[in-house]
Symmetry: D2
Subunit: 421 residues, 4 copies
C-alpha cells in the first residue's frame, strides 16, 4: 500500500485510540438493543454492526496479521462483520444485517473491550506498518461514527412515533443570513490532492496540478429558507432544471422536498436526532441528493463547484473549525460566521461537487484487502467535500474525498453554489 | 356477526383469559428486545408486534366498544398494531413492522398488563356480546401464539450462527414407523362444518352435507425418511409431478428440499427452535409448501385428501390429543401411535388438503371490522387441517380451517396421502 | 389418456378440420406482419405464434407420432412453438415471443399449408387414436382462436392511435334490459361433469354427484349500466366489498373501471375490435376480473354462482345458442332475449364462478405430454363458464371449464349474480 | 443556443441532406415490417421508430418552427415520436415503443417522403438559424443510424434462429496483430474540446486547457484473442480486477463473456449483422461494458485512457479514416494498419475512457427543447471516443463525446489500454 502517512508516536496513538473508541460507545449510548439491531434500508447498517465491524477491522488487519499467537475472538465474526473486502472471503449479505439479533449489543461491547485490551497491550511492540494500520483503523472508525449517526437517524425516521435519539434544546433563533456573496476563486494552474505528510486515504493523492478557469464560490451554503423559495417556485416540478436521471428519480420516487421533511398544518418540519421540529430557514439545507443540488443550482442560474475549485479555496482554511461532531446538534445555523470570506466550508453539511469520483493521475490501488478501501468505488459516484455536523472533529482535510451516488441523501448533504466569471 | 358460540361463564372465561395471556408471555420469555423487534420477511411479524396486536384487539373491540369511559392507552397504537382491518382505518405498512424499535418489548409488556387489568376489572359487568368478543380474542391470541413461534423460527433461521430459541434435549431415538396403511374413509353423503355449539370461527360454518366418493387416507403423515426418498429419486427436478405454478416456483426459487433443511458433509440437517439438528427420518416432514405436498403425492401415485374427506374422518377423533403446544418440542416422531387407525391427525403438522379455501354454502361475512376476520381471504389459498406441534392445545377442532397460499411453508406444514378406491 | 370421446367419422372430421383451420386464417386476415408479431404482455401471445403453435400441435402429436416417415418441417419450430409441454423439451421463453420477427407471417402461413396437406393426405389411413388427437387438436385450435382475438385486442389497446382491428357498424341502439329477475336453481343432489359421450377435455369429468343448497341465479349477466352505478357508488374505493387480494390489486394497479374503459369529456368509452366507442349501458359488462365480479356481487348483496349451480342450470339449455363467434361483434346487447328464464348463459361473456379450478373426484391426468393439458393448472385459478362472443360456435358445453387467475381480465369476462334462498 | 458552427451553403446542404436521408432508408432495406416494429429492450428502439423520430425532428424544429403555414403531417406523431424532449410535451412511454404495430413501416416511409419534399422545397428560403437546425438534424440522424444498426442487432440476437441482417462474405483471414506497443502521449498543458469551426455538438466545447501527466497509449485496441486470454485466466471470476459496481453486475447478470458471445462444441462464436460466426481472434473485442474494459485493464496491469489523453493524441489523426460505416462489415480486423503509431483510433470500436461524462468548463445548455440534447445526460455515464464500424463516415471528430452507462454494451464498444510513464 502506498503509505501517505507516518504512524503517530505510540503514546500519542494510544491516547488517540482510546479517544476514538470511546466516542463510538458514547454515540451508541442512547440506543437499545433493538435500536442497535434494526436496518432501515440496504444502504444503511445497524449500529451494532458498525460497532462490531470497526472492531473486526482492528482485529483482522492488526491483531491477526501482526500479533503472533492471536486467537480469533469468534471465528464467525469474520463472516458477519466483514463489510465489502472480497479478499477476506465470503460474508453475510448486506441487506440481511438487520436480522442478526444475536450477538446482542452487550456481546458486541464485550467484543470491543476484548479487542481494545489486546490492541493496547500489543501496541508498544508493534512495528510501524502495524501502527499505520491502527491509524488507518481510527480514521476508518471515524467514518463509521458518522454513518452510525446517519443510519440511526434513518431508522428512527421510519418510526411513526418520531422518537428522538437524544433530547436537545431547540436551536436558538438565529438571524437570517445575508444574501449570498460571491468570492472569486483561484485561476490558472493550482495544486490539489494530499501533499504526502500526515494521514490521508489513498484516493486523496497523488498531489497534482490542474487548471481552473475564472469562477466564484458562494460565501456560504444554501439555506432552508432559500430551498423553500425553490420549492415554492415549482422547482421539483420543472424538468428544465433537472439532469435526466434526476428527473426520472423525482418522478419515480415522488420527491417533493429534502429527505425527512414533512408538511402538515403547521408547515414544513424536518426530522433529526432531536426528533421532529420546524424547518429552520436560517440553517443550511441538508439531506438533499446531487440531483436536487444540481437542479437548485440550475434554477438559481449557477452551477455546482468542481472538486478542484472547492479544494483550492479550502486549502487556506482551518479544517478543524466549523460545526462538526462534538456538539452533537446537526445541522444548525452558523449565523455568526457571516463575513466577506468563505464561511462554513468545513462542517455543517457535506457539499456536493460537480466532479465524478474518479482516480487522480498516478493513483494506484494497494495490494491486498486494504486496497479495496477506495479505488473500487470509482464509478457512478460524485465527490462531496468539507465534512458535516456529524463528522468527528479532527477527521477532516481539504483533500478529503467523500463520495455517494447522485440519488443518495441520508447523509448530511447540502450545496454551495459556484459560477463562471 | 353470525355468532356460532355462547360466551363462557364469566369466571371460567376469566381463568381462560389469564391462562391464554400468560402463555403468550411465556413464549416470549427467551427473546431479547432485538429478537422481539426484527422482521425476517413480509409474511412474518415481529414477536413484539404479535404481543401488542393481540392486546390492541382486546382494547379496541372490547374496551373501546363496550366499556364506557375507556381512554386509549396510546392513541398511536391503533396505527401501529392494527393488522389488516380496513374498517379500523390507516395502519403502519406491514413490511415495515421490523423497524419499530420503539416502543420496546418492556413497554409492550406494560401495555399488556394495563389492558389485562382493565379487562379483568370490566369482565364481570360485560354483556354477552362483549364476552363473546373476549372469547374470540382468546382464540385470536392462540392463532398469534403459533405465528409468533413460526415467525421467530424464521428469523432465527436467517442468522448464520444458528441460534436456538430454547435448549431442548435431542429427540429420543424413535423406531421408524411402519409403512403407510390405508384407512377407508366415509362414502356417500356426510356432514361437515361446525355444528353451532361451542366456539368456532365464522368460516367453519354453516354445517352442511356433501358427497364423498370411495377413498382412503394414509394412517399417518409422510415422514422425513420418505421425503428423502422422494428427493433421492429426483422429485424436485421432475416437472411431471408438479403443478405448473409449483414448477415455476421451484425453478425460480431454487427449491431442492423443505424449508430450513441444509446439506453438508454430515448429511441433511434441519433448523428448529432447538437449533440445527440432523433430520430425523422417523419424524413427520414439516415446512413444505402445497406445491411440494402435491408433487410428493403425485410421485407416490396418490393425491391430497380433500377437506371433506379429512374432516369427516377426524370427527371421530379427540382434537385435544396429539403433539400440540404444551411440550414445546416440534415436530417430533410419534412412534408409539402406530395403529390400525388414523394417527397424528391432530398436532405434529398442519396437513395440506387439496381444497381451496372458499366459503361454505350459506356463509355470510359479519358486519364491521370483525367481519374481516376470515371471509376476505377466500381467494388463492388452500385449506390445512389438524393443527401442529405449535398449535396451543385446546385450540383445535375437526372443522378448523387454516389457510395459506400454496407456496408458503414457514408454518409446520406437512402432508398425509389419500387415494381413490 | 382417459378418452372421453369417440373420434368423428373421417370424412366429417376432414370437413371439420378444413372449417376450423380456415377460421384461424380468416381471423388473422386483418393483421399485418407486425401486428401478428408483437406481444403486449407476458400473458398474451403474438397472433403469429398462435397460428404456428396450433399447427405444431398437429404436426407433433399426429404427424410425428402417428405417420411413419414424417420429416419435421423445421427442426427449430419445436423450440419456438411449444407452449408449455415440459415433456416436449426446452422451449423459447414465453415473455420473448414478441421478439420473433422471423419467421414471418407469410412463412407461418406456408407452414400451415404444409401441415394441412400432410394431415389431409394422412387422415384416411389414421387409426382412431390418431383421429382422436386430431379432434383434440381442433378443440385446441378453437381455444387459441379466442386467445388470438383477445390477445390482439390487448395489443391494439396499447396503441395511442386506438386502431380498430376491423370496421363494424356501431351496435344498434338496444332497449335497456329489464331489472334482474331471480330464477330458482336445482336443489339437493345433482349431477355435473361430462357424461362421457362426444368430445370433452379431461378436466370436465368424471361426471359425479354433488349437493346444491337452495339458491337462485340472475336471469341475465350484469350490464354496463349497472356497473356504472357500482362505480358511481364508490365501489372501487370501498374496501368492505373486496377480497383482500383484490383490494391489494385495486390499490397497487390503480384500478377504477373495467379493462379498456377510459373517461374523457364525452364520458366513458371502451376499446374493442371495432375501436374505441362509447360504453353501451345495455350490453353485458366485460373485461372484469374475479376480484371485480366478487366485489360487485358483495355490493349488490348477492354472490357469485358456484360452478355446480351454474352447470346444473345450463344443462337444459342449448350451448350452440347465444352471441358466440360467427358474427364477430363482441360483446353486444341481447335485448331480444329478455324472458322469464335464464338468458345469455352461453356466449356474450365468460361468467366467473366462485369455484376454484380443482379436479373432480376421480380425475387422473393422462400419461405423456398431452396429460399436461389441464391438470397442472389446478391451483390458484377460478372456473368460468358459458363461453363468450369470442368463443367459436360449437366449442361450448355446459360442462366446459375455463379457468383464469382472479386478477386476469383481458378475456371477455363478466358476471351473473346468484343468491341463497 | 450557443452555435458552434456555420450552416453549410444551401446547395451543399441539400446534397448532404439527400445523402444522409438515403442512407437511413438503405439501412432499413433488409427489414420486414415486423423487424422494424419490435423492441428488444428498454434501451433500444424499433427501427421504425428511429426512422420516424429523426423525421419528426426535422418536421418539428425546422418546418413547424421556421416555415410559415406548415400543417403537421399527423398530429399524433409528436406524441409517438418525441424521444426525450420534455419541452415538447407528453410522449409515448419508451418501453412501449415496440407495441406500435401501426403506423406501418410503409406509412413511415411515406411520412419521410412528405417531410423530405417539404424541407427540400423550403430550404432555399430558410434563414441561417433554420439551416443550422437542418445541419444539427443531419448529425442527429447519423447518430440514429448507428443506433438503428445496434438496436436491430440486439433484436436479432434474441432470436434463437440467429438470423443475419444481411449476408456478408466471411472476414478474410487476417494475420494476428503484433503485441501491443506503447506510444507516449502529450505531457503538460494541452488543449482539448471543439475549436469553434465546423459543426460540433454543444457538449464538445468550450475548447480549454488541461494538464496531462506522463503516459502512453497502446498502439491498437485489445483484440478478441487477448480477451480470450483474460477469460482463460479467470478474469470474470476474480473480484480484485473489478470496480465494485462492476463486480455486482457480473454476479447479478451472470456475465462470463462479451455480449453476443456463445460457447458450444466448436468454441466461442459471436453474433453480428452477418449472423453467428466464430470469434475472430485478430479482431478488436467489441460489445464490452466499461466494467469489463476496466477489469481487463486492471488484469493487464494497465488502465483506461482519460478523455484528454485520448483526444490530444487523436488531434493529429484523420477522423475520416478507419473502419467506419460504408463497408457495413463490423467489427473486423485491420491487420494492415500495424505501425509504430496509433492505429484504429477512429472506427472499429468506440473506446471507453476513464472519464465521466461531465460538462467542460464554461459549458452552458441552450434554451428550449434543443438544449436538452446533451447537458441533461451528464451524470453516471462515461465518455467513449473515436466512433465504430457502425458510425457513418464523416460523423466523427477528435472532440466527439459519446456516452453510455458503465454496464451498457450493445454498442460496438471496445478498449484501448493506457499506462502511466
Amino acid at each position: 500500500m502506498t503509505v501517505y502517512w507516518q504512524a503517530e508516536a505510540p503514546s500519542a496513538l494510544a491516547r488517540q485510540f482510546k479517544s476514538v473508541r470511546s466516542l463510538s460507545e458514547a454515540l451508541a449510548h442512547p440506543l437499545s438493543d433493538a435500536d442497535a439491531t434494526a436496518q432501515s434500508m440496504d444502504d444503511a447498517s445497524p449500529a451494532k454492526w458498525h460497532l462490531a465491524h470497526i472492531t473486526w477491522f482492528f482485529e483482522t488487519f492488526v491483531l491477526r496479521d501482526h500479533v503472533a499467537g492471536h486467537i480469533p475472538y469468534d471465528p464467525a465474526f469474520a463472516f458477519l462483520f466483514n463489510s465489502y473486502y472480497e479478499a477476506e472471503g465470503a460474508r453475510h449479505a448486506r441487506p440481511s444485517r438487520g436480522l442478526l439479533t444475536r450477538p446482542s449489543l452487550a456481546q458486541i461491547f464485550a467484543y470491543r473491550r476484548h479487542v481494545d485490551a489486546a490492541l493496547t497491550q500489543a501496541m508498544p511492540n508493534l512495528r510501524s506498518e502495524a501502527l499505520a494500520l491502527i491509524t488507518l483503523g481510527l480514521h476508518h472508525e471515524q467514518q463509521h461514527q458518522e454513518l452510525l449517526l446517519t443510519d440511526i437517524l434513518h431508522l428512527f425516521a421510519q418510526n411513526p412515533l418520531d422518537p428522538a435519539v437524544w433530547d436537545a434544546p431547540s436551536a436558538l433563533p438565529a438571524p437570517m443570513p445575508e444574501p449570498i456573496k460571491w468570492v472569486a476563486g483561484h485561476e490558472g494552474v493550482v495544486e490539489i490532492g494530499h501533499n504526502g505528510e500526515d494521514f490521508a486515504f489513498d484516493c486523496e493523492g497523488p498531489r497534482h496540478s490542474t487548471i481552473l478557469t475564472p469562477h466564484a464560490l458562494a460565501n456560504r451554503p444554501v439555506t432552508n429558507g432559500e430551498w423553500l423559495e425553490f420549492m415554492g417556485d415549482g422547482g421539483y416540478a420543472d424538468s428544465r432544471h433537472w439532469l435526466s436521471d434526476g428527473w426520472a428519480w423525482v418522478q419515480r420516487e415522488g420527491i417533493v422536498a429534502p429527505l425527512y421533511w414533512r408538511k402538515d398544518e403547521q408547515g414544513w418540519s424536518r426530522f433529526g436526532h432531536d426528533g421532529r421540529r420546524p424547518v429552520n430557514p436560517a440553517a443550511p439545507v441538508a439531506h438533499i441528493s446531487l440531483y436536487e443540488a444540481d437542479a437548485y443550482a440550475s434554477w438559481a442560474g449557477a452551477r455546482l463547484p468542481t472538486e478542484p475549485e472547492w479544494e483550492s479555496a479550502a486549502q487556506a482554511l482551518d479544517p478543524h473549525s466549523g460545526n462538526q461532531l462534538d456538539t452533537a446538534r446537526c445541522p444548525r445555523p452558523r449565523a455568526c460566521e457571516q463575513s466577506d470570506g468563505l464561511a462554513q466550508m468545513f462542517g455543517d453539511v457535506w457539499e456536493w461537487t460537480g466532479s465524478a469520483y474518479r482516480p487522480y493521475p498516478g493513483f494506484r490501488t494497494a495490494e491486498g484487502a486494504v486496497g479495496e478501501y477506495n479505488g473500487k468505488f470509482m464509478s457512478g459516484q460524485f465527490v462531496l467535500k468539507g465534512g458535516s455536523c456529524a463528522t468527528p472533529r479532527g477527521h477532516m482535510r481539504p483533500s478529503y474525498r467523500n463520495f455517494f451516488y447522485p440519488h443518495q441523501r441520508w447523509q448530511f448533504t447540502g450545496v454551495r453554489l459556484a459560477k463562471d466569471l
